[in-house]
Symmetry: C2
Subunit: 364 residues, 2 copies
């Protein structure tokens, strides 16, 4: 890929960036794009989504509607996505018309828990021991091979802890197979991790690559609750995380963002968990405690602007507002260190991400 | 006015904030409101304005259309303005339906160069020597009284150096009278200032008042070019500026933002120039170098959230992008300290504010 100078591909103001997906990530991307002077076109299957109200143009259609996708692609200058599970065919149809970042191949790889682990392995990055199975018999063999305890997950369409089943001994396999819908699954050895961390890699059209400072994450019930920067991990672990993430991003010839989640073991070694080809919840702290937010960085990449080298401005703790957490909004609004971000979702449901708070300063 | 606790009037997420005016200030206000989870309704006479593309609802109608204003007011929970010259009657019609901040009386006062100076005088704040005239004969008498050099300005509808005429001796009065449209004018003594500064005051529904750090400004041709924080003025001048601004905001029983521009004389004394009941160009640096932007602060006030106490996070220089300055955009995008904000205006005209850049750090 020839490395063109930035100027040759920098989008002028009032160019249009297309975003596939209409959730909160798209909402924050749209505002970052508007700040840079770009128009935004949201492609979403859902009317009244969080992103639509801050975007200039909106197409409401299913991702499977190829004609709608092509019309969307023709109306914009460049595209990216905020919803990682858009069908590969939709991304391909879009890319046939206008540049689409990250590439549909990276998107497809990140949609499959088996493929992304294979990709990690190919890049020399350790993963949990795992097996794929697409039948009940295959599942039994795989569990025997991987050993218990293990975690059985659907290979595709999993997020926020959905599509997962923990198996302590093989007798649970029948329940797991039923619960997960009798479809292709991945059987992963349980990793005795002492911490979880994520690394966000940004790579530009010209190949410039930067990581955001490593984030340490705490999940509850499979959903991210809290992220911390600085991560407080050892220099060795920190370096290993950055190297692993950059190796994979480089190997994928990434243009865009790629978020990596890792397990950290007691000896400080790292183990790849999953990746997402988009802004990531764990990196929301960049909105208030970094010189560049992950959303601005992605819009810069799409527009062909030079990337910014991310620099931590202050310590930060990011807390998700999930479902009933919204009842604490008044408390957060009174906290002088809290930067509250609410996604404008009309309906508050259990487990639904409604907003987040970045607590900036030294009071972690 | 009873001081209610915040909780009693805090707007819930998905409430709607109405903004009269559709320019770049409304655009940045709309994004700040969206970040807090509020919907925004823009009332604008101009279709395709900068604010509309990041707002959920838009009404396109002239400010003189009282029915449209009333319908707008009924559709929102609270209102404010981004364009200071909305007719007093429109603000009154809106306020008769829903809360409107700042009050129509403050808005009207700030629209008239004579009234705002009288208001400053009443609050004990020094102003240039001035006279009002609404006839050519009156103008001649006023210029004799005030002395030359002086500046003749229309009393209303002036902004960015428009509606002004510098008079070095009385023989220019006829030209000035013609040039300014033979309408009511204010004759202001020339102030031999050594610096210009602005102070932004924010005052909440509960009477809590905070100022943003004082900004030093440089104008060219009547248009703001550059603002600096910290302002580098003496502690005495700094204190005088804050006291004067707060005295006026308090006297006006302000709810909202009130921006004050002052001349600084060689002896460090201050002289009121003008005020604006809205976010102000000179305070755009708060978007990248303060713990709270002026736009978020105003949205917090409108929504009844507690104000944040503004704290400077870093030194900052704000540079406006006016007309052809947009040709320097590529340069700014390469500056690692520059935070570029572009307003999405399709047409670039001479003297038109197209965007601004906040240069954050120590390299001022």
């Amino acid at each position: 890929m020839p490395l063109m100078p930035h100027e040759d591909r920098m989008l002028p103001p009032c160019a249009t960036i297309g975003i596939m997906g209409g959730g909160q990530l798209g909402r924050m991307m749209a505002m970052a794009a508007a700040s840079l002077g770009y128009h935004v076109h949201i492609f979403t299957p859902e009317k009244d989504c969080p992103a639509a109200e801050v975007a200039r143009y909106v197409t409401v259609a299913p991702y499977e509607d190829v004609e709608a996708v092509e019309a969307f692609a023709r109306s914009v200058d460049v595209m990216t996505l905020e919803f990682e599970n858009i069908p590969y065919k939709a991304a391909q149809a879009a890319q046939a018309v206008k540049p689409f970042y990250p590439s549909p191949e990276i998107v497809a790889c990140a949609q499959h828990r088996g493929w992304e682990k294979q990709f990690a392995t190919d890049a020399g990055v350790p993963t949990p021991n795992y097996q794929i199975a697409d039948s009940y018999e295959g599942l039994l063999r795989a569990v025997e091979h991987v050993g218990t305890p293990c975690i059985i997950k659907t290979t595709t369409m999993g997020y926020d802890g959905k599509g997962q089943y923990r198996v302590l001994d093989a007798s649970q396999c029948a329940d797991a197979w039923q619960a997960l819908g009798m479809r292709e699954v991945i059987i992963e050895a349980f990793v005795p991790f002492v911490a979880e961390a994520s690394v966000m890699v940004a790579r530009g059209q010209d190949g410039t690559m930067h990581t955001f400072p490593v984030t340490r994450n705490e999940h509850e019930g499979g959903i991210l609750r809290t992220s911390y920067v600085p991560c407080g991990l050892s220099v060795t672990t920190h370096t290993a995380l950055e190297h692993a993430a950059c190796a994979m991003a480089q190997r994928a010839e990434l243009v865009g963002l790629l978020a990596f989640e890792f397990f950290i073991l007691a000896d400080g070694s790292i183990c790849f968990n999953e990746m997402a080809p988009r802004p990531h919840n764990s990196t929301h702290w960049t909105m208030d405690a970094c010189n560049v937010s992950q959303f601005e960085q992605l819009m810069r990449i799409c527009a062909g602007l030079p990337l910014k080298k991310p620099t931590l401005r202050a310590t930060c703790r990011m807390v998700n507002l999930i479902g009933d957490d919204m009842e604490q909004l008044t408390k957060w609004h009174h906290d002088p260190h809290a930067h509250v971000h609410v996604y404008g979702k009309a309906e508050c449901r259990e487990g639904r991400k409604m907003g987040h708070v970045n607590i900036v300063g030294d009071n972690l």
